[in-house]
């Protein structure tokens, strides 16, 4: 059974991709999926060689045939998204592709058109396969693209006998995050000891719990505000969430990024040791249950 781990944060900029790229380096048999599709950064560290390109189709968009249109205005008043102006021009950013205008038009002047909204890629990297994506400029449906990336990553993992998918998730709590965490085995929330970090951690933990996914936490830049780091630990304890590590602010993170390396490749110093220890804890949480099941099976058969 392929396990899935998603790294999220609620708040942006806490170090998701720093951690995930290091996990990619440490994982021995994993597929990596960059699901932060509207601001993807993993490729800057993993330097992928693209082997497959797939088109991504988002929501359909309404298109009005001006020759058939009599400007009756029924589509304008029927659209709940204010996507058609009084001159029967469709605002493609506002159109959500529902098809109501197509249905109500008495002249059959509206058609719904599939629109390419991005691409996703399968690539080879020095750490193994990476599935990543590029959402078209200003496109919607990033949750749908996240689902496509995850589906392809699962197929690749099955085909190539990988036992883990490591997913770099998007910030926030909305559709892209929900698409990135549903059905995974564990969510790691990377947080920081700032008021915003704590607030966003609590919201995103609620989202994960809403979908009944186990959560673990890691505190990055813990020394920026030790008092808040302590209160994060207390919050986690009260909610039975394991804290897998506390890492200090370290400029080595930016140095490694500029060098195009993951932190664990770039340096063996303390920060890297911290990431390794978080990784080892994650692996034991993810695979512990399975190990126990196997031991139980063996014991049973030996009896």
């Amino acid at each position: 059974m392929v396990k899935q781990l998603t790294v999220i944060s609620g708040k942006g900029g806490t170090g998701k991709t720093t951690f995930t790229s290091s996990f990619a380096a440490l994982a021995e048999n994993a597929v990596i999926a960059d699901c932060d599709v509207d601001a993807a950064d993993m490729h800057l560290i993993l330097q992928p060689e693209i082997s497959e390109i797939h088109n991504f189709f988002g929501l359909d968009v309404a298109s009005i045939n001006k020759e058939l249109c009599t400007a009756c205005g029924i589509c304008v008043s029927s659209c709940r998204f204010d996507a058609i102006d009084s001159n029967q021009v469709v605002d493609t950013y506002k159109c959500e592709g529902c098809g109501v205008c197509e249905h109500v038009c008495p002249e059959d002047a509206v058609s719904m058109i599939a629109k390419k909204a991005g691409e996703y890629y399968c690539s080879n990297t020095r750490f193994g396969p990476l599935v990543h994506a590029k959402l078209g400029i200003g496109e919607e449906a990033s949750g749908k693209l996240v689902s496509d990336v995850r589906r392809r990553a699962s197929e690749l993992a099955e085909q190539s006998g990988k036992d883990l998918i490591v997913i770099d998730g998007p910030p926030g709590t909305g559709c892209a995050v929900i698409a990135a965490i549903t059905g995974t085995d564990l969510v790691l929330v990377v947080t920081e000891p700032t008021k915003s970090g704590v607030h966003d951690l609590e919201r995103v933990v609620q989202v994960a719990q809403h979908f009944r996914i186990p959560v673990a936490v890691c505190i990055n830049k813990y020394d920026i505000n030790k008092r808040l780091s302590v209160s994060i630990c207390e919050y986690c304890k009260d909610n039975n969430i394991p804290v897998l590590g506390m890492l200090p602010y370290d400029n080595i993170v930016i140095e490694a990024m500029i060098a195009g390396s993951s932190v664990v490749e770039y340096s063996g110093a303390k920060f890297s040791e911290g990431i390794r220890s978080v990784w080892n804890s994650l692996v034991s949480i993810l695979f512990q249950e399975e190990k126990e099941d196997i031991i139980r099976l063996i014991q049973k058969s030996e009896k």
Partner: protein, 294 residues
């Protein structure tokens, strides 16, 4: 004058800039459009009063009238309705509230009920005079855009509006930035910062909103962001240095203009700069009440 504070990458300092900027201008409206993770009020600490629930209209099926014809299932572009052997099932979280199922049902068996997905709150800061509006998306709710649209309905055309945008480049950002007169992109001087800045610049240009850049944590990375801005003729409006004092104030939820008054002046001249650039672009806006030099 409506000014969005946005960024491709998260955690670059959008909220910091938005809050400090609004406090420095005073008598402005501040909108927290990062409805998935609204944080501005952590820095303002205002008592908020609920203005309204944000709801979308989702279908409700009258099982006595429903003939199980499947027209609604076939119509729904979001796969939010499924036909079972003896009933029709609705998946409210997939529903965008377009109303199409209600229109296509031949038995008139579908009515619509309001499903709350978030709320809008308001507070006033007596010290600075800013009025603050916050949108919050409910936990587990996928669709941020309807909340953002409702939030924007509270904009007063006669006031300066400072708008804290969500991160990224997808629909919540488009919904926020598309309606603005100017967009400030906050970035950090790192390869991730640059990569995501370029994505954001492309989006904002596509939306035809004039833009400028603020480099936050200046000095912590490399020069690639500045080189990019020069090569693309993008004005660098401000540089905020990497400074432990600012980082610690941020972590405690204290707007740094309150402790470092020199920054209040800098944010005021930022506003003048933006007004000047906008007036050059459109000759439509003027900075009433603010010195016209920078």
């Amino acid at each position: 004058m409506k000014i969005a504070i946005a960024s491709g990458k998260g955690g670059t300092g959008k909220t910091t800039v938005a809050v400090n900027f609004a406090l420095a201008i005073g008598d402005a409206q501040l909108f927290d459009c990062d409805v998935e993770e609204p944080n501005c009020n952590l820095f303002l600490g205002l008592d908020l009063e609920k203005q309204e629930d944000v709801s979308i209209a989702v279908p409700e099926i009258n099982t006595e009238k429903c003939s199980l014809c499947g027209s609604c299932v076939e119509f729904c572009h979001y796969n939010a309705i499924a036909k079972l052997p003896r009933s029709v099932m609705i998946f409210p979280k997939l529903c965008h509230g377009c109303g199409g199922c209600h229109i296509v049902c031949p038995e008139n068996a579908i009515s619509e009920i309001k499903r709350p997905i978030g709320m809008i709150e308001k507070g006033v800061d007596p010290g600075s005079g800013i009025s603050f509006f916050q949108g919050t998306l409910g936990i587990g709710e996928p669709m941020a855009t309807p909340v953002i649209r409702r939030l924007q309905a509270h904009m007063d055309e006669n006031k300066v509006a400072v708008v804290d945008s969500p991160p990224g480049t997808a629909c919540p950002v488009i919904a926020t930035v598309g309606e603005m007169d100017y967009c400030v992109l906050v970035t950090e001087p790192t390869p991730f910062g640059l990569n995501d800045l370029i994505l954001a610049v492309n989006v904002v240009r596509q939306l035809e909103v004039p833009l400028g850049v603020i480099i936050n944590r200046h000095g912590s990375g490399d020069d690639s962001v500045e080189e990019y801005c020069y090569s693309e003729n993008i004005p660098i409006l401000m540089k905020i240095p990497y400074d432990r004092e600012i980082a610690v104030l941020y972590s405690e939820g204290i707007p740094f203009v309150q402790r470092m008054p020199q920054w209040k002046e800098k944010f005021r001249s930022l506003y003048e700069k933006i007004c000047f650039i906008s007036s050059e672009n459109t000759s439509q806006y003027s900075c009433s009440g603010v010195r016209n030099q920078w």
